[in-house]
Symmetry: C2
Subunit: 145 residues, 2 copies
């Protein structure tokens, strides 16, 4: 078996990633986007996140707290990046809750999570993924148009 | 008036951007994320986009076409980036439609838009924003944890 990742190319432009590959890519990302839905209208918040066992700890600006409160139960955390003529994008779909109980805050303290965004009243949350999917897509040789 | 952008810092960590600033930042971005909602569940698709007058032309993988077809009317296009100890994130909220009429494809041809993702059956769409918002947020000095 070849341990090198197969990269997509013009002939096979889309590579579906395994969950392990998705988790590895998310573990190396810092900036992500949390998509929520309220009354069937989507919204996106830029967030910072860390892997935490099977879940993801999420830190976001203050308005993410209120948005999560009124959001539908299902949310999506997305991370992406560019590498060697490809883009990768990984989606972790699941449920999210605010970390506000004493034992939660202890988790944040023990993991030494630093508030990445300096804004006051930011929120720590935990996303429990039900499904993690991702893909790498080959991009064309011209990057500027 | 000072033409230099005011950057957020620890004392004023969140800077709300004007629509003009938002449009300028989006004009310099290539990779964005399109958030859709179906039955009050959000989904995110990585897309490439270009400004086109007041609207945004969006190019995405094949499954974005089907997702747009079943999505609620309101969608969000998000772009973000990192600059000098800050992250910026801009959201264009509005409605989207597939560019599939002959005059639409002429627009794509005239703008010489190249399919950025090499996947076959990708889709060109046009997002008409009703509201464009964005902010810059100061991030902490430690980037790795």
């Amino acid at each position: 078996m070849n341990d090198l990742p197969r990269l997509p190319d013009a002939e096979h432009p889309v590579q579906v990633l395994t969950e392990a590959e998705c988790r590895e890519l998310l573990a190396g990302a810092q900036l992500g986007r949390l998509a929520l839905s309220h009354r069937n209208e989507p919204d996106i918040f830029p967030v910072n996140f860390w892997t935490h066992g099977d879940t993801f700890l999420v830190h976001g600006p203050q308005d993410v707290r209120a948005a999560v409160g009124r959001s539908s139960q299902h949310v999506v955390l997305e991370g992406d990046g560019r590498e060697a003529g490809t883009v990768w994008s990984v989606m972790a779909k699941g449920t999210i809750r605010e970390l506000d109980r004493p034992e939660d805050l202890e988790t944040v303290r023990q993991r030494r999570l630093r508030a990445w965004i300096l804004a006051p009243d930011s929120a720590f949350l935990e996303l429990s993924p039900a499904k993690i999917t991702g893909r790498r897509i080959a991009v064309g040789p011209e990057e500027r148009y």
